[in-house]
Amino acid sequence: MHPALQGLITIVVGVGGCIAYYYFSNLFLDKVLFPAKGAMAGRNINRANMVRPWLFLMPALVALGLYLAYPVFATIHLSLTQRVAGGGFEFVGFENYVKMSGEPKFWEALTNNLFWLIVVPAASTAFGLLAAQLSDRIKWGNVAKSLIFMPMAISFVGAAVIWKLVYDTRPAGQEQIGVMNAVWLSFDEGSIWSFLFLKLVPILLVAGFAVAIALMTWALAKPVVQRNGPVSGWRTAAAVLVGAGAVWLIYKSIFGILGIATASLPYGEPQTWLTMPFWNNFFLMAVLVWIQTGFAMVILSAALRGVPEDTIEAAIVDGANPFQIFFQIKVPQIMGTIVVVWTTITIVVLKVFDIVYAMTNGQWETQVLANYMYDKLFRANDWGVGSAAAMVIMLLVTPILVWNVYNARKEMR
């Protein structure tokens, strides 16, 4: 049978089946099981109304249970077992996890993922905020927004092709067809532009990142350090943890700045960007930032428009300049939305697979967890370790899951 025909039949059967299920199950409930007539009419109506929600929910619950809830438990189980020759599974405890933690590729994937988790949400949110703020102030803002938003519609694989062309390399002497190399080769050693774009701008960027981290950590740690207001034990612990992470990041940034300042760059030689260890991760991240910025922009732009006018007017009357208005009036008021955007992008990052799979397939030290897992499951056929890797992803998602559920519950009350 032709697949298209099969698809058509599936649509008809699926949609028809769903409608028939809902219609006839309701009919059955009202007419046969609990008919609203006779001596028991009142009680029957009540009973029917108690059952009906579950009729409506049944197909969705079955699908959700089978396709999302059951796999969580099945994966936990699989991660604790091992396939034995000749079929069947045996329980091996945490052996898969131990095996996984002995693999350098796993640690490479985990570290890379942590970099992805810091860089992509931060850069997407920052660019998104910038684009939202700028586009709200100009006439052609809507066109600009729609163009920045456009990569959202492009598949990760399509984006991988687009960016592979950007990163393309031709041997020295030939004309470069990738933009990155063409731009790179236009820089000369010692020229003012090279100094500006390849030394000063990166240094300022990294320094800005370090300062931003320091400010954010200080804002978090301030109540704990100054001991004003109620400070609970877990909050102190969280502050210490965040503080330690921040100190590490700032330490790394300072070394990064020194590295950039002292590095001698190989001017005039075309670079193969995707095989450059460590930095190639950032070239892959650029693809996801490019895609996710539109999302951040759309949501933050709506939030910025929701900022009450009178707070801004008051600030203008008090003589605030546009930067003060933005950073001290608008941004604090949309902090909640920024957090939502940040966490949503974080989840996308944790699941990122297609980009790495299509562009480098984890070679040249670009492995990430999702691709590592895929490798284990379908290339090495090691279901135990693959499931253990999936559990690591689940574990990283869990805090966000809990936070989301907590917020949703708070809102419903």
């Binding site: 697949p3 298209a4 099969q6 698809g7 599936t10 649509i11 699926g14 949609v15 309701n26 109304n49 108690m50 009906r52 929600p53 409506f56 969705a60 619950l61 699908a63 089978l66 396709y67 999302l68 809830a69 059951y70 994966t75 699989l78 684009a131 700028l134 586009s135 102030r137 729609s146 920045i148 959202m152 519609a153 492009i154 694989v157 399509g158 092709v161 592979k164 062309l165 950007v166 004309e175 470069q176 067809i177 063409a182 999302f295 759309v298 709506a302 007017e313 208005i325 939502v340 299509a358 897992m373 895929y374 499951l377 999936a390 992803i393 689940m394 998602v397 989301n404 559920v405 519950r409």
Partner: protein, 380 residues
Amino acid sequence: MDNIVGKKSGLTWAVHISMALLVALWLFPTVGLFVSSFRTSDQIATSGWWSSLGTQERQNPAIRIEGDVVEVDGQFTISGNLFGRTGVTVGAWGTNSREPQAYGPGETVDLGEGQALTVRENGDYTLAAPSDFGDQRLPRVFTTAETPPEFTLNNYSAILFDQRNVDGMAKAFFNTLTVTIPATIIPILVAAFAAYALAWMDFPGRALLIAAIVGLLVVPLQLALIPLLKLHNDIGIGKSYLGVWLAHTGFGLPLAIYLLRNYMVGLPRDIIENAKVDGATDFQIFTKIVLPLSFPALASFAIFQFLWTWNDLLVALVFLLDSSGETTVMTKQIVELMGTRGGNWEILATAAFVSIAVPLAVFFAMQRYLVRGLLAGSVK
């Protein structure tokens, strides 16, 4: 907003320029691929796509002279145009890869054995000799010429309409379509009923269910791959369209229910209560009132699910693609081309654009609904 007190901000120009830069930066990579898909492989390999938009001077690959020999008064000549088109201006030419710019346009060069070659400014050439050329290899001509922009649709016709082309996308295109349409329609229906129950019916455990759905919203589908593949194999679905439709339905449901419930809760209570007082059953209220009113939310989710299933690679890899390759989808086909045809940008660019074109069309046509859905889905 800064105009509130009647003062025009001095930053206006800076805002315009930075926005233009940002948009250009975001558009540039896509435009590059788009332009490349209309160029021949020679053009792509010899110059950056950005230089193809204007007239450019470049060194062309060698062109071997060929054509019919004409005999006039004992002189054998071959003549024609090197480029097969007009508008090219030859600046210099040569017959040797070591000296590709040896001669100027219009010069006649003696190639030995009485053969003489002339290349004129517009690319016309004449090769003359006192005896027939026989089977002898004709000379190659290296040119440095100013070439106006030239684009071709051949890449698209090869990728889309050439049945024998193993790199073709036609089959993959229809397979993707076959995956996408049922996987978009079915979850909408299932989710709509569930969302109505969660929004407008009162029953114990409702709050818990909503919380569970918010939780499932972020469960990575990576967890589901192995257990479900095992399940599909056990119940006999295996790797098939049915499997991938079911998987997409399951993975799309949390967002669908969440979006639709949020929208339905916001519908005016009066309408629904009036209908109840008038004796409408829940089933009637749902089909006659709630469903039509929820159209914007349904459209939002439909776009999301469409984009997601169309662009998906992982679910198709696991639940659909087998070794036969008969069911390949476009994303997989592109990844394969990246492996086997990594340097052939004309094929890659065209294939990628074939797959990108449909979502982009949907995106620009229905952007309003997409934005609305995003806002409903994440801003609380």
